[in-house]
Symmetry: C2
Subunit: 320 residues, 2 copies
Amino acid sequence: MISLSRPQIEALIDHERAAELIEEAYRAVSLGKVNLPPVGHIVFPEHDGDCHIKYGHVEGDPVFVIKVATGFENNAALGLPTGNGLSLVLSAKTGAVRAVLHDEMCMTDIRTAIGGAIATRLLIREESRRIVIVGTGVQARRQVEAHLKLMAGRDLEFLVWGRSAEKTTEAVVELSEAFPSVQAAADLEQACRQADVIVTTTAARRPIVQRDWVQPGTHITAVGADAPGKQELETDLVASADGLFVDLRPQCLDHGEVSTAARAELIGPDSLAELGEVLAGEKPGRAKDEDITIADLTGLAVQDIAMARIVLSAFEAHES
Amino acid sequence: MISLSRPQIEALIDHERAAELIEEAYRAVSLGKVNLPPVGHIVFPEHDGDCHIKYGHVEGDPVFVIKVATGFENNAALGLPTGNGLSLVLSAKTGAVRAVLHDEMCMTDIRTAIGGAIATRLLIREESRRIVIVGTGVQARRQVEAHLKLMAGRDLEFLVWGRSAEKTTEAVVELSEAFPSVQAAADLEQACRQADVIVTTTAARRPIVQRDWVQPGTHITAVGADAPGKQELETDLVASADGLFVDLRPQCLDHGEVSTAARAELIGPDSLAELGEVLAGEKPGRAKDEDITIADLTGLAVQDIAMARIVLSAFEAHES
């Protein structure tokens, strides 16, 4: 039985390899080859906390994965991380526990960022270079990392914008140590008007990015809205996009960026293509250079499965 | 973060202390003080396997528990145990993972046996001495152990019966090394006719214990039937019992020993008292010496929670 700590896990993750498996996972979901039972959930109202249990199995995989993730908002005041958790990898042939991955949420952060970068890579105009990152938290930083690692051949530059100038400076200082192509954006409207790509990563409950700011040819990857009530993009922007892409149709219609437009009956299920459908060649991606495309990602358990598989196989390859 | 192996866990379990917490757990369930979300379940038909995820939180507890248990029937042919699993203990205040208990099912086996011994202790006639154990597997052995440990003051003797004479001998030889008061029963009818207590532990799908065999004053603890279709006691025996006790009313009506009699409309929910109700003094236990009483136990996640708490607190007490 293998037990790995967060630093061990981070060292084993190769973004390119992870992206391959996550693309495979998106295809498997869209082709109906994944067994994903309902997510387990338990709440702790006294401490503003909850725990989600996501688990599933991809047809033919030798392992299945159970991911336990907790979120306790009061932790911040105690100087503790709000998110915690681990992933269990079990044999799908014998039920034996193969590995306990104490990733403390880093696998979730990284798979979310890789999902975003996969969507961007798939849907941008060929000559896209300037990426605006909305938000300054962990996910904003992970998106910069994932976009750079998955589009290494492109001469990308990043503009990071956050509501707080202080936090923006902090994020940019940290990021620019590793990635010299990162700068702060003083004004979001101006940044959006000049962007080839906009990546939104906030927990906003009111739209931040306005329709008028977004120019033809822009691609938007939105990963912040992962629960009912969250929204980063104006409803009009979503409703008028030339191409709308999601990770999972029913999940995004329920609580993704597209759910508001769907509830207003401005769009329907037929307006949406799943990333897996595009990756499998079953649906087209971007049609024209001047299109505005949006990828709305709510996060899938199958991404967690892929991450756990990558970590386990990298560990085993390293050991052998 | 604490990680314990099966031998470490077994060494930390004190039956008396565990029984206290499991009795407390039964009371908490019956008083509605436990948050038990629906059990998670995923199947692997190719390998005749499945995985259950049970989790919950007892009001006021500093921790909550997630138990993962797998059952892969094909393992037996491979020389591997069919059951596997672990329990996670997490803080109910911060969501942090406190412990991973790699018990490989032994906590489940022990808590099931302790539940049985609690029921027996609670419901027998004062002068009961002779206990017939039906079955020769792990649970039969665990029941002998738990009954002896939780009723140490009584001069108990055990008769073990199994369908296979060979397996019965094997079980008795093993048990009598630790417990001299254990003998084999050649004939189940005869054994039942002389029994004060009958404990059934098999996975039988047809009744084994007949109504005519059971004498006034006998108590029966039945722990084998834990899924629809399993039955160890004749329906008539259940329907005509003077006292019917269960661990959880809806669960036992669905897939316990009492479910067959309930479906035949011979008994209803009002015929049943929960152990927690009796332990809390809300319902009476055995009324008269000559009554036949039956305790039908299907196993509760709250027992798993109690076991994980015991192991963790014993470990912490040992370390400090």
